[in-house]
Amino acid sequence: MFSRAYKAAVALPPIVWVGAFLLTPYLLLFCNSFWSVRDGQTIVHDWGMQNYSKLVHVPVYAEVLLRSMKIAGGVTLLALLLGYPLAYYVAFYAKRKELLYQLVIIPLWVSYLVRAYAWKTILGSDGVMNTLLQYLHITHEPVGFLLYSPFAVVLTLTHIYTPFTFLPIYAALEHIPKNLIEASQDLGASRIKTFWRVIVPLSIPGILAGATFAFVLSLGDFLAPLLLGGPSGIMISNVVVTLFGAAFDWPLGAAISACMMVLVLAILFLTEKLEKKWSFS
């Protein structure tokens, strides 16, 4: 519809920018992963697989990655369990949908950092949780594992990412034509049967999208583990941060980053395929 010159003028600036400031940096990162560090100070362009081999053979990296995936998995599961019924309620029962929807979004407007720190306050030995537990005589002294543990990380990240599971699930539920639900009931299915046979299958793309968000974003998180994880709650991104900070080893950090990129892209590819299979409209 538009002239060729126009089309070029429109497409070129973003392509050039993205090429310069996105593609090039990622490529640089990738290149760095094949180099190594000498004397803890300089980076040598020696192009080898030494970093990747280190990742495979030194167990600690795999351990941290595994722990990160477990934490991410826990967060995803919890966020879905919290988010789905919430989305269901707002979509099918709520009288003021718009308002409730906004209420779920609003916490996202408060700084992540500050919310994470608030959880630190809540879970600390001096904080709300412990004070409450002692007040109710459930415990007699501060519970240790509440803070500086994977538990704290999972709790905080679930808090952060529940709205992220809510949003796509809500969108999917709203998208279901009401007459399908009526048809199901007309044919003899009770509300529960209608839920499992019609609503859930049709909301699967939303579930997949929400789960992907929650999992991938939790996996790569570094703030929550840093603030609340303690030594037992360190996640893979913290390792990368250290390698680019105090433990100067950019190439190794780059290698881990490259692996994470591949992992995340693989997950995305997988969910995209699944979403296509399960989308019917």
Binding site: P177, N179, L180, E182, A183, S184, Q185, D186, L187, G188, A189, S190, K193, R197, V198, P201, L202, W278, F280, S281
Partner: protein, 356 residues
């Protein structure tokens, strides 16, 4: 296609479904007020009305998607108006078909049976039977998105009928089809209903459709029933001016009656109505050129042809009869321009109630 025999009222049997003085309001809108209707076993009843008449709401009340604000609905003597849809022995064919996109055609049709936990073998055979009945056997493994509108509608029909409901509700099922397909489906639906013997309640805004297919027609207007009768009766004896106009676009003559004679324009006619103003319905088809013989019970009047519109088998004439305009549908006769004499049978001059 018209029914040739007037169906007898089912002898002394209880009506299948009884709607008693049902009312429904949405917000400030009174959608239905005081509607009562009986549906007989095995009959084909159309609920006819314009947009906003309340016909869809009435259907949804019977199906169970809404509860009446007042009044009751009974099936076989038991109250069902407080039952959820999945507990009623009623199935619906939706206007937009509402086929489940994530299930195949066969699974769609089997849905109601699976939910009621029928044995597997029985489900398979009944599904096959139902698909054969609507001529969709070859599509069992297809997904609804691959089907045309007409095909989807057949599947929706099969999905409803396979459960052998006591009553089938159809919500304007043919409105999305093109004219030819529509006529074909009308025929098929009617013969299907005869074959299956289940009562069909058919909602439509198309009066021709209702008149063609139904054993009885219930005409709804602004939430109230104007008339419930067989198509012939509604046609020849409309109860109100609205019915007369809505069905077959009758002429409405607002006459003055004085001592048994009704006068409007050039039309002068005997009537048994009381003195004073009265409304009469006269169908355009009933008017013809005056014949030479002086038949009895025939009313003659003079009129001038204002306009003539070709309509195929008939021509539509706009006649001026002494200040009053009448439409006449006359088989391609040669009607001379200017003034001529016309006639109609006295029995076609029907008094109707003025409408609200």
């Amino acid at each position: 296609m018209t029914t040739t025999a007037v169906p007898q009222a089912p002898a002394a049997t209880q009506p299948l479904l009884s709607v008693n003085r049902v009312a429904k309001t949405f917000g400030k809108n009174i959608v239905l007020s005081d509607v009562s209707l009986d549906i007989a076993q095995g009959e084909f009843l159309s609920i006819l009305g314009e947009s906003g008449s309340g016909k869809t709401t009435l259907l949804r009340l019977i199906a169970g998607f809404e509860r009446p604000d007042s009044g009751t609905i009974q099936m076989a003597g038991e109250r069902i108006d407080s039952l959820p849809p999945y507990k009623r022995r009623v199935n619906t064919v939706f206007q937009s078909y509402a086929l489940f996109p994530h299930l195949t055609v066969a699974d769609n049709v089997a849905y109601g049976l699976k939910v009621s936990k029928a044995p597997r073998g029985e489900i398979d055979s009944r599904v096959r039977e139902a698909l054969a009945m609507v001529k969709m056997e070859g599509f069992a493994a297809s997904k609804p998105s691959k089907l045309s509108g007409g095909q989807q509608q057949r599947v929706a029909l099969a999905r409803a009928l396979v459960n052998r409901p006591k009553l089938l509700l159809l919500d304007e099922p043919l409105s999305a089809l093109d004219a030819n397909l529509r006529r074909e489906m009308q025929f098929e639906l009617k013969s299907l209903q005869r074959e299956v013997g289940i009562a069909f309640v058919f909602v439509t805004h198309d009066q021709e459709e209702a008149m063609t297919m139904s054993d009885r027609v219930a005409l709804l207007r602004f939430g109230e029933l104007e008339q419930v009768a067989t198509p012939r009766e509604i046609y020849s004896k409309p109860a109100t001016a609205y019915v007369a106009q809505f069905i077959g676009h009758s002429n409405l003559l607002r006459c003055n009656v004085s001592r048994g004679i009704a006068r409007c324009g050039n039309v002068i006619c005997t009537t048994s109505e009381a003195d004073g103003p009265a409304v009469f319905s006269l169908r355009p088809e009933a008017i013809r050129l005056a014949s030479a013989a002086g038949a009895t019970d025939v009313v003659r009047f003079k009129a001038t042809v204002l306009r003539q519109v070709f309509q195929g088998a008939t021509e539509l004439f706009e006649l001026d009869c002494g200040g009053m305009t009448l439409n006449a549908k006359i088989y391609s006769a040669r009607v001379p321009a200017g003034e001529s004499e016309f006639e109609f049978a006295l029995s076609d001059f029907v008094p109707v109630k003025e409408s609200r």
